[in-house]
Amino acid sequence: MAEAPVLDRNILREGLILARAPDPAVMVIFGASGDLAARKLMPALYNLALNRYLPSGFSVVGVANTPWSDQEFRTQMLDAVQKYSRTQPVDRSVWQSFAEGLHYIPMMFEDKDGYQRLSDRLTQLDRERGTSGNRVFYFATLPDFFPVIVEQLGASGIAHAGEGWKRVIIEKPFGHDLKSAQALNRAVHAVFSEPQVYRIDHYLGKETVQNVMVFRFANGIFEPIWNRRYVDHVQITVAEDIGIERRGAYYEHAGALRDIFQNHLLQLLSIVAMEAPANFDAETVRDEKVKVLRSIHLVNVDTDVIRGQYGAGWVAGQQVAAYRQELKVAPTSMTETYVAMRLKIDNWRWADTPFYLRTGKRLPSRASEIAIQFKNAPHQPFAKTAVQGMNPNVLVMRIQPHEGASLKIAAKIPGPVMRLRTVNMDFFYGSSFLVESPDAYERLVLDCMLGDPTLFAREDEVERAWGLTDSIEAFWSTQPPPEFPNYAAGSWGPEAADALLERDGRRWRRP
């Protein structure tokens, strides 16, 4: 009988959507009884299982101090999936099959004995479910616990035990300033090397954020005009109509600057301003993003950064309380719920092109978008009356709620006289693609299991972003307390934010 050939790849996988399958692995979720696990992680894992993306043998060990048994954990997670999964109803047979791999260990995160029990359970799962020592450690706890969990994973030997890969996913916020981020990086690197670390910012898992890169780099017509010669300015908005919900304790220490600017806004800015990467490898893409962060120039914090805090007002027909009246918020709180700023990027592509960024809570609507406003045509051959009311071209990439793009262009109004009007060419992803978008967590968890960190933040990205944030905080700390609240809930932010653009002869878009 002829000897069987040696295969270096799974030839049955050719032509399937995933060219590579994740290896069987155990995901250890620290903070498994918390909100994130229930609302995001477990629904994401269930949907991955439902759609056949998870490998055979995939298992989860939930770790938290809530005294649950394996069975109670499964029941709780089923409730969560029934409540939060994007696909409903939950398929009982698929859930049953998936839930066989769900396990739970009640323990305090500092408890050494607990890590021994965890280690024993992981070894048992490797034996029973063929997970071969592959691990994803997901830190879904309060950030205060990150260092102790890392330390215990190292001390117990779990982080390096046996064969197989080990990866760690760390939720934002990664530190609360540059110093703490560096300290956390040191603590993590004492146990895990940088390629093992996946710092998650779920914004990067959103389809439309990835589409910004596709839009820029897969189409030949935009990149030649994507520079200071043709672009007048860029506006990036992450607006929320909600308040702080039940996150008062966290938000009091974070504020809009740390909560949104340091991560979501700077990530969007990097993607919109970066040079074309030579390829889509994680390091190449992240190198280009970091170059943008290194080129950011805050001209004058005093005049170019505006902060605000919402007072009482009306949002979507509902009367809402002021920030200072929210649960677990100090009645004299000086925490900002709104930030707007003007940045410059000192490189050949963007020199002297202002980037205006803003984010806020209790704004009139929920909208995240990037707007590229182009310069006016250098010469208008039409009569003044014909072009009255005309606006420059604007390309808007909408991230939420209606993912898509629109281009504002001039068009002639049909008729015997030359009259022009601005019209929007709108493109909604939803109207061209039937495919249901996965949740950002599904994409990111799968990427981590496949060992692809492209959509995760690298150490230097995080630290550079904190450096920028710190410089603003440092300036604020030298200033007298601001007069908060300075914008009404349901408005588009403080008047000073409008003045920031008016000084430059521009105005904020209404998203």
Partner: protein, 351 residues
């Protein structure tokens, strides 16, 4: 018609220039007298997405009704220009009729506008309908020809459309016999063939292929793939064996790529009406022979089983979405170019 389904115009026209004219009008919501009100003016300036030209060929009114229902559901998500050709070459009198309509759907939360031209021809005209189609296509967009029933491979219309099309979509579960496979393959492999072949049956097998591939992603299982000794595909009895042949052909053709010849056995299964009901892959290996099984379960699921030597390894259950025709068609819209894997599976299926 539903509340969110807005038919813009419907008229019967008889020549291609009239059809073009009517298309322009329904596309931009013109009033019959050619005057625009303010809303129409706005609509004229409003851009919208179109992703393809879709041509479908039917031979009788009954088939037309079924196709129209599928296209109606497809129109909620895929903005396109659709040409339905009701071609009745066998009817004696020459006849040409066309009806143009446009509709906007908003079920998906977006405005999706589709234009539809129904062309009904008898006799000689029916043979030459492709000449009517060309001027009615939206330029620069792909042309997809969907043949809901087994196409008449010898007809002039089918062959003319093959010349026009970027993709031809068939359903080998709809009346295809084994002898039709080489003819389908011949279309895909014609000299200078631009049209690739899409097959609903192939899309129905995505889940099976995915799960079968995952067996050999498991630690230590890859060497067993190279030691595959047999494949058995069970199938229901009510329809053709095309799906079972394709699945077997897929395994066979993949392994043939690396020089492994594996026999495929088709097994009729009394317990199922149609489609593949079970796939078994037999391999050798150092711990003895192994059997990897996938079975169709009630409620749109697949369950797996693995037996290595005397040991049963844990199986699992995953979803196998039963997809309606409009969803299968929508999948086809997203697939570019020639699917070499499909063509090789088809070739293996006729061996």
């Amino acid at each position: 018609m539903t509340d969110n389904h807005e038919a813009l115009a419907t008229r019967t026209i008889v020549d291609v220039h009239s059809i073009e004219q009517e298309l322009e009008e329904v596309r931009w919501k013109l009033r019959p007298e050619g005057q625009m009100d303010e809303a129409a003016e706005h609509a004229a300036a409003e851009a919208r997405a179109s992703v393809l030209n879709l041509i479908t060929v039917v031979t009788d009114e009954k088939e037309l009704a079924g196709v129209a229902a599928v296209l109606d559901r497809l129109s909620t998500t895929n903005p396109s220009r659709t040409l339905i050709l009701l071609a009745q070459e066998d009817r004696a009198d020459d006849k040409l009729e066309a009806r143009v309509s446009a509709q906007t759907r908003t079920e998906s939360g977006h405005r999706v506008t589709t234009e539809e031209v129904l062309i009904h021809a008898h006799g000689q005209v029916a043979k030459h309908m492709a000449s009517l189609v060309t001027p009615l296509l939206i330029p620069d967009l792909p042309v997809m020809v969907w043949s809901p029933a087994r196409p008449d491979f010898d007809s002039r219309l089918f062959n003319d459309l093959c010349e026009l099309a970027d993709r031809i979509v068939v359903d080998t579960d709809a009346g295809f016999e084994r002898d039709d496979f080489p003819r389908l393959l011949e279309v895909a492999r014609r000299d200078r063939a631009r049209a690739s072949i899409g097959d609903f049956n192939w899309a129905r097998l995505i889940g099976w292929r995915h799960v079968a591939a995952q067996f050999f992603d498991m630690p230590g299982m890859l060497p067993r793939l190279a030691q595959m000794s047999g494949v058995a595909v069970s199938h229901g009895l009510d329809r053709s064996t095309a799906q079972a042949r394709l699945l077997g052909g897929w395994v066979q053709s993949r392994l043939a790529r690396v020089g492994i010849d594996v026999p495929v056995e088709l097994r009729p299964d009394d317990n199922h009406d149609y489609e593949v009901s079970r796939l078994l892959l037999y391999t050798g290996g150092p711990e003895g022979p192994a059997r990897f099984g996938i079975a169709r379960e009630a409620g749109g699921r697949l369950s797996t089983e693995i037996r290595v030597g005397d040991q049963e390894l844990g199986g699992r259950t995953v979803r196998l979405e039963p997809r309606p025709p409009e969803e299968l068609l929508a999948i086809e819209l997203t697939l570019p170019g020639h699917d070499v894997l499909y063509e090789e599976a088809l070739a293996a299926a006729v061996r």
